[in-house]
């Protein structure tokens, strides 16, 4: 009979360093100034977050427009037990939020306190960090208005 198998924690971790390019660079730089930018398509609709190409026509896009930091929850999922790498250390919702002025939804966090506070169609607004760094984590949404 052999001895029991050894076990050890093993952490696989690597940090990607991604160049943002001119369009996404402006999106992230604006976050530092507490502004959320979308990009306007030829037909006038606005994609948020801003992106570099039209997902339907593959045309280059670079007309950035500011949208509101308020909007509507279109869909959501409650996270009752956040894991270590998730954005909040207490229960929260991942939600698809359509910001006022945007024609698409963005995936972000709603710090709602409890699942009972969440509803499809609810209004939310951004709560900005005291110190912003130009990252998508510079804000979370909270129920609002």
């Amino acid at each position: 009979m052999s001895e029991p198998s050894l076990t050890a924690p093993h952490q696989l971790a690597y940090t990607y360093k991604r160049s943002l390019g001119p369009v996404l660079s402006r999106f992230f730089t604006a976050l530092r100034d507490r502004k959320i930018l979308g990009v306007k398509r030829k037909d006038g609709t606005v994609l948020v977050p801003a992106r570099e190409y039209d997902p339907d026509t593959a045309e280059s896009l670079d007309e950035l427009v500011e949208v509101q930091d308020t909007g509507v929850v279109r869909s959501w999922s409650w996270v009752p037990k956040p894991r270590a790498q998730q954005p909040l250390d207490h229960p929260f919702a991942y939600a698809l939020v359509q910001l006022d002025g945007a024609d698409t939804t963005m995936l972000h966090v709603v710090d709602a306190g409890s699942e009972a506070q969440m509803a499809t169609g609810m209004r939310v607004k951004a709560r900005w960090a005291k110190e912003t760094s130009g990252a998508i984590t510079d804000f979370v949404f909270v129920p609002g208005e």
Binding site: S2, E3, L6, Q11, L12, A13, K17, S19, G134
Partner: protein
């Protein structure tokens, strides 16, 4: 606060595992805690695999417990690479040399680092392991700090050519 545009985005990826070594690798690790290097001999063709493992990858047969072979901590560099680009998790001063060492009596190579001269590292160079102080030994291949050149003639190419 900086006014410079944000041009780079850092995306950390992290996965936390509990790794279970299994019977054979556990035996290997318990041996290296004692300063012993264990390989395993294939019962079909007699080749010695290092580090020891549970079965032969070529013949798909289990290695018997009595097939363990203790290997010396010296061998031959079969190939090497000079590393000039830093990695976050490798705290070595650049440039450094990674080597594939064929331990004497083994048929598979071990990846490690060489404390040696960039100008004289070469295939066939004879090397030996430099160990941590005994009181720091754990169940880890990191008990070997690095390899260093031996004052011996180079190994004959034919003796390692099938392991390059």
């Amino acid at each position: 606060m900086s006014e410079d545009p944000i041009e780079v985005f850092l995306q950390p990826i992290q996965l936390d595992y509990d790794y279970t070594a299994g019977v054979s690798a556990s035996r290997f690790l318990r041996a290296i805690e004692q300063g012993k290097l264990l390989g395993q001999r294939c019962p079909v063709d007699g080749r010695v695999y290092f580090p020891s493992r549970g079965s032969c990858p070529q013949h798909a047969v289990p290695f018997a417990d009595d097939g363990a072979v203790e290997l010396p901590d010296r061998g031959t560099i079969v190939t090497y690479s000079i590393v000039r680009v830093p990695s976050e998790n490798i705290p070595l001063e650049l440039p450094y040399i990674t080597v594939q060492v064929l331990l004497d009596g083994a048929d598979t190579v071990l990846m490690h680092v060489l404390d040696g001269d960039l100008d004289t590292v070469r295939m066939g160079l004879r090397v030996e392991a430099v160990w941590k102080p005994k009181e720091e030994w754990t169940t880890s291949l990191a008990n070997i700090l690095y390899f260093r050149p031996l004052d011996e003639p180079d190994a004959d190419y034919d003796s390692y050519k099938e392991h390059i």
